[in-house]
Amino acid sequence: MHPEHPGGRNCQALTSHIDLIPTLVGLTGAEEDLKSKALEDLPGRDFAPLLKDPESAKTDAIREGVLFNYVGLQTVDALYMTRVCRDIAHRRFAPPFSEAKPDMQGRGFISFVFDGRYKFSRYYAPDNFNTLTTLEALLAHNEIELFDLKTDPDEVKNLGIDTKANKDLIMRMNDLLNRMIAKEVGVNDGEWLQKVIRTY
């Protein structure tokens, strides 16, 4: 809602939570150099300009894809989580990673990219961060999902199962995913997680 823009309008441009801070800054009306200084190093984009004419904004007006990442142990090691949750519930000392040793081989981490029509997801293990570029390597180290939200908005038909028929589409979306990771995450080797495990 903005007092200078009428309501009741729709926008189909791809935007992300990662754009929230740049957009808030963009809406402040501050000087350009001050804004760019405040947003230095942040990967998000200011989508406040879309408010002028949101209806005619194309899907890729702000970004070519939206990147999603989930890196939590809830979806990796149920036994570890059960133990930790029990400790927390009873307000007991929760053991550090070095002691509890959660399983890091389950493919419970996820990265996905959405380009406005297709949603391509890659599930990988915490000890196997990767941004691979061939189909064989991709399938060897990840579980994949590919949905066409235009024809399948509920995401029930996984096009990623038929890797022969959909190879080109899979690789196109994989390239986009890798590109977005390079742009917004940077080096994606999982070193930060190893650091956490070593430290805590």
Binding site: M1, A13, L42, V84, W192
Partner: protein
Amino acid sequence: MVDKGKPGKGKAPERSPSQPKVSRRDMLLAGGAAAAFGALPQSAAAESKGTAAPGKQAKPSGKPHPVRRTKPLGRPYNVVLFISDEEAYHLRPAEGYTTPGREELVRRGTTFHNHYIGAAMCTPSRGVMFSGQPPLVGVPRRDPDERRCDVVHVLQLLSEPHPRQRSEHEGRHRCADGARFLGQHCGWCSGPPIMANSVAPMGGYAERARCLTSRNVTSRRSSCTPNIRAGGTAKR
């Protein structure tokens, strides 16, 4: 941006006649994920569930809500951000329930149908919102020399010329204040930030629990203290 004083006390800010009159009750009624006044992106969750079938565009009935100003305000804007949890764009409308607050937001605002969260579950999702960074970059960005840790710091940069000169200690306390001001615990002040941002929420909560139980709180975790004193967890 917002009065940090105790709720219900203090003098109400003066409002010029040109400013829109929106009461606290209006704001609460609006609910949902959205931003008001100075404007802001709405989450897709703010779509009117009462008027739209899942996955389809909201079709606002009647004329678009009129603008209240034709020229920029001439001074920095105030932004009010609403956040709500446990919602989904494709959620079907619950039979027998209405969502007038969301319908009002749709009528008065812009709905971004392809807006996505950057990470799932509550704490990492908030982490992306308040840091502007994906959950995988928590550690490198949180080096001691790093100047910002959340949206409050970024907005402070707009008004304060030399934030880098502030000490880390002070920065953390400011972060804690900011998190409270936002009505959320930001997740980073309670302990090793990466735990809260990426491995959490459980990692974050575990660390929090450890803070509460440990008598030998290290300097790294001392940022827990203001939060605990301020409110909440220790007294429960």
